[in-house]
Symmetry: C2
């Protein structure tokens, strides 16, 4: 088992109660994880005052918000939420898996 | 044109002289870009003493190095190179596009 290579899509799992989050790698300066949504699940709009964040849609489709923009995102799209910009997922339109990166990670 | 959403794969371009690098987004804490390789092109092994880095293979295949490990990476694989760990691309085995993230970005 390598410490350095993994397939994010293989780590996806779902929770019927709310969208599922899992960590993939935890550096001091960067953390990477997955956010996995069942259709209709959401992530409330929130802001990281001091962290830059991205979502890369690995599969599925979702209606997302960044700042004042509503974004219709699908597999292959990169969503960028720089520090201070409110962002969230208004609704997954199908089962959706997002690679998420945040720098610095929470707690650092 | 949104400031917050883009399709990384649409930004790929190639250089016959050496692998091509392009920036996608530039935050204060996180930078994202593409590394695009023609078959056989390489990125020399190098180390970022104070930055965490990842590669996500968007398309293609490459033989990569992290630390003492040789990794055969293909589309969907995430390669993690935490600060201080030597890493590079020994050879792209076909045309290969990698999303690359580094925190903090060079010069920050």
């Amino acid at each position: 088992m390598s410490d350095y290579v993994l397939r994010p899509a293989d780590h996806a799992r779902y929770d019927r109660a709310k969208f599922a989050k899992m960590n993939l790698v935890a550096g001091h300066r960067l953390g990477l994880g997955l956010n996995c949504f069942e259709p209709g699940q959401l992530q409330s709009t929130h802001t990281h005052a001091d962290a830059d964040k991205f979502y890369l849609i690995l599969s599925g489709k979702a209606r997302m918000r960044v700042g004042e923009e509503i974004v219709h995102a699908e597999a292959g799209d990169l969503i960028w939420a720089p520090a201070g910009e409110p962002h969230g997922v208004e609704a997954a339109l199908e089962r959706t898996v997002m690679l998420v990166g945040i720098a610095p990670p929470p707690g650092r």
